[in-house]
Symmetry: C2
Subunit: 230 residues, 2 copies
DNA sequence: TCAGGCGATATTATTGACAATAACGCGAGT
DNA sequence: ACTCGCGTTATTGTCAATAATATCGCCTGA
């Protein structure tokens, strides 16, 4: 047994994990709406809330700023970022473009190994959905899409796609709790796997783009409701 | 007069500028080949070289890691990142795709104000080229392209495009010093402005993609020469 | 009553000291 | 001669104190 296992991990986790945990919890608080857009994220407050040192909280804020869900202004502080309808449309425009391109690059019919992998991920997704585990649903869902698009063969394209998936996280989060939206997503995932067995790349690409319309429309409807108040 | 102007700026620049300056110098040292790929970037060494505190050097390394030209490994240190031929092809594949899409989204014929702006930027580009100011050439060149693609109307697409421009910086740098490459670039820029006056979006898109082939091919040739040694 | 500045307070930014970690070399045992 | 383990060193990671900065309320003078 390594020495630090008995010493460091007795009560708490290693630092690297602690850092990841702070990021995870802050991200969760934001995307699941516990922290409303515009809310000030004061370092001291977060230090208390997550029981972490200023250093880690700082790092987390930097990371989430890069991810686009936190806004930091020099000498002023961090706030939960709000996206206007216009911005949402622009973000989705790029995301749809990248998605379509990646889908078209997937060689059809896809190898059995990929199908098997996606079936397994889809199984996990359904399990989390049944368990109503919000965080789990989101992670399983993203894992499914990353695995799917990785088949396009270009890791840089996948990375950019992931960037936009992270950026749209606040818009997609509400749908993870929605029963109808969840059922639709499930069916679409299964349809994607079906199409991977065929040769119609265009149908696959179109389905992938359609797949993101529900949450986009829903979010746009929601912020139109209160007129972009903040 | 504000108090800090006479106090802080007497001998040196303000902190924010200092941070930017460290990033700029480190980036320059890497892209212009003064720091070879694989070279270890020790914080203490850089602190001395740039006369900056550990904090700023650290930030710079983080920033350049995000930009993709520095590789950081936990508890090991930072090195100048090297890209294999395969990776370069993949990076350019995405960059070309984004470029084509952005170009196609520019409404033609373009407004006179855009043409005027680009003509001015092109003038500056030529001036820097004549002055053999490497850094200046690169900055003027990027400013030209950002201004051009901003006309596509989607700032997020422009940001992603900029990400890839930064990523390909080490590959493009050598061409800024090359007389023939520079002359070709100049002509292509002028041709772009010409095409903005017409209505042929496809020709413009194709020219923009062609515009990046020279440095890509050159870089691939160069690393094929020494067989991806490091 | 209102404009403007001044001080108090809240918050982030910076720093240098210190802790943790991994790479390296050296020496002992086989 | 070779390898395994241990101590040393080089390097990054973390922290808590301190400096810098912006915001807001209050007070004064016209």
């Amino acid at each position: 047994m390594k020495p630090q296992e008995s010493l460091t991990e007795t009560s708490t986790l290693t630092r690297e994990e602690e850092q990841a945990e702070v990021i995870r919890r802050l991200e969760e608080d934001i995307i699941f709406g516990r922290f409303a857009p515009g809310l000030r994220l004061v370092e001291d407050t977060l230090m208390q809330r997550y029981g972490a040192s200023r250093h880690f909280v700082r790092q987390a804020l930097f990371q989430l700023e890069r991810q686009g869900i936190v806004l930091r202004e020099k000498n002023i502080g961090a706030t939960v970022r709000f996206y206007s309808a216009e911005e949402v449309r622009q973000i989705y425009e790029v995301r749809e473009m990248l998605t379509r391109q990646a889908a078209l690059m997937i060689a059809l019919p896809a190898p059995a190994s990929l199908i098997a992998q996606l079936n397994e991920l889809q199984r996990q997704y359904c399990a989390k959905a049944d368990a109503q585990d919000l965080r789990g649903i989101h992670e399983a869902n993203d894992a499914f899409h990353v695995a799917l698009f990785s088949a396009c063969g270009n890791p840089y394209l996948v990375r950019s796609l992931q960037d936009y998936m992270n950026l749209t996280l606040p818009m997609r989060a509400k749908n993870l709790a929605d029963k109808d939206g969840l059922a639709l997503s499930r069916r679409q995932h299964e349809l994607m796997i079906e199409l991977l067995r065929g040769r119609d790349s265009w149908a696959l690409a179109q389905l992938c783009v359609d797949h993101m319309q529900f949450s986009k429309a829903d979010y746009l409807g929601r912020i139109a409701g209160d007129g972009g108040k903040r």
